[in-house]
């Protein structure tokens, strides 16, 4: 039986990508048979961004580990701040949301 995962989505209102990120995250959880509970945390200020090491919206934490870092794709360290996060899809396109395949891979890795 799969153990439960803590999944958190950190977001900032200055980016319109939150809804899509949440939808794709829930789809990935559903495909893997994992509970669809996602804790939403709004980041409102630079101070909150720094405290949460929030480098852009959306940021997804799985058991406290940032999604791309969990995949070893963290890349250059971005400064914390109220930004829209830049993701790179597996086909090389820039996107405001993570590649759904990256979501699935990170969730699979975390539940093992």
């Amino acid at each position: 039986m799969d153990r439960g995962l803590t999944v958190e989505l950190l977001w900032w209102e200055g980016c319109p990508s939150t809804e899509r990120a949440l939808t794709e995250l829930r789809e990935a959880l559903d495909e893997l048979g994992l509970p669809g509970d996602v804790a939403m945390r709004e980041i409102r200020t630079d101070t909150e961004a720094e405290a949460a090491a929030f480098t852009g919206s959306p940021t997804i934490l799985i058991d406290g580990v940032e999604l791309m870092a969990a995949l070893g794709k963290g890349g250059d360290a971005e400064p914390a701040g109220l930004n829209c996060r830049v993701y790179v899809r597996r086909d090389g396109r820039v996107s405001p949301t993570p590649d759904p395949e990256d979501l699935r891979e990170a969730l699979k890795g975390a539940r093992q």
């Binding site: 396109r93 820039v94 405001p96």
Partner: protein
């Protein structure tokens, strides 16, 4: 403040990354496209090549494309003038990249996001404002809304789709 469709757009001169000044409303007999953009917004980056391709495709009809970065570089150093210069130096830009450090131009035009596209006719009247096309995630769209607007303006018509909702990162205003 903002400019409405059919209104004459305000003219300003902004510096490009080489320090040369560019008048926003043009001095010729062809349309001008203003694109408020920046260096780090994923929406601006996703749409950038589509807009650049449109600039290349319409160059033979003397259409001017001007990209403008108005973001607060103090809080967002990746949008500094120096960062703009570095980006232009390492990429193939078919249009000048202008700096609006006071944010006056962005405020006067009512720019909201990066990207936010404004199409002016040869007289400097606003004919289209909004997104380049309907989906940042679909390169096959090829900035269709922008191209439709330009085709109409070049034919002497008001674009049927004169205004769409700009989609992207909020412009980073100074506090």
């Amino acid at each position: 403040m903002s400019v409405d469709i059919g209104e004459r757009a305000p003219d300003y001169t902004l510096p490009d990354t080489a320090g040369d000044g560019w008048s926003l409303t043009g001095e010729g007999d062809a349309p001008t496209v203003l694109v408020f953009t920046c260096n780090h917004c994923p929406y601006a980056l996703a749409w950038h090549e589509r807009i650049a391709d449109a600039a290349r495709d319409y160059a033979d009809r003397s259409v001017r494309f001007l990209a403008i970065n108005a973001n607060d570089a103090e809080r967002y150093p990746r949008d500094s003038y120096e960062a703009m210069q570095s980006r232009v130096a390492r990429e193939d830009w078919p249009m000048p990249y202008l700096h609006d450090p006071t944010q006056r131009v962005a405020r006067e035009y009512g720019a909201k996001t990066t990207p936010d596209v404004f199409v002016l006719d040869a007289e400097g009247t606003l004919r289209y404002r909004g997104a380049p096309d309907s989906d940042y995630d679909d390169p096959s769209q090829r900035a269709a809304w922008l191209r439709d607007a330009l085709d109409a303006v070049l034919a002497g018509h008001q674009p049927e789709r004169a205004e769409t909702t700009p989609v992207g990162c909020s412009i980073k205003w100074k506090r």
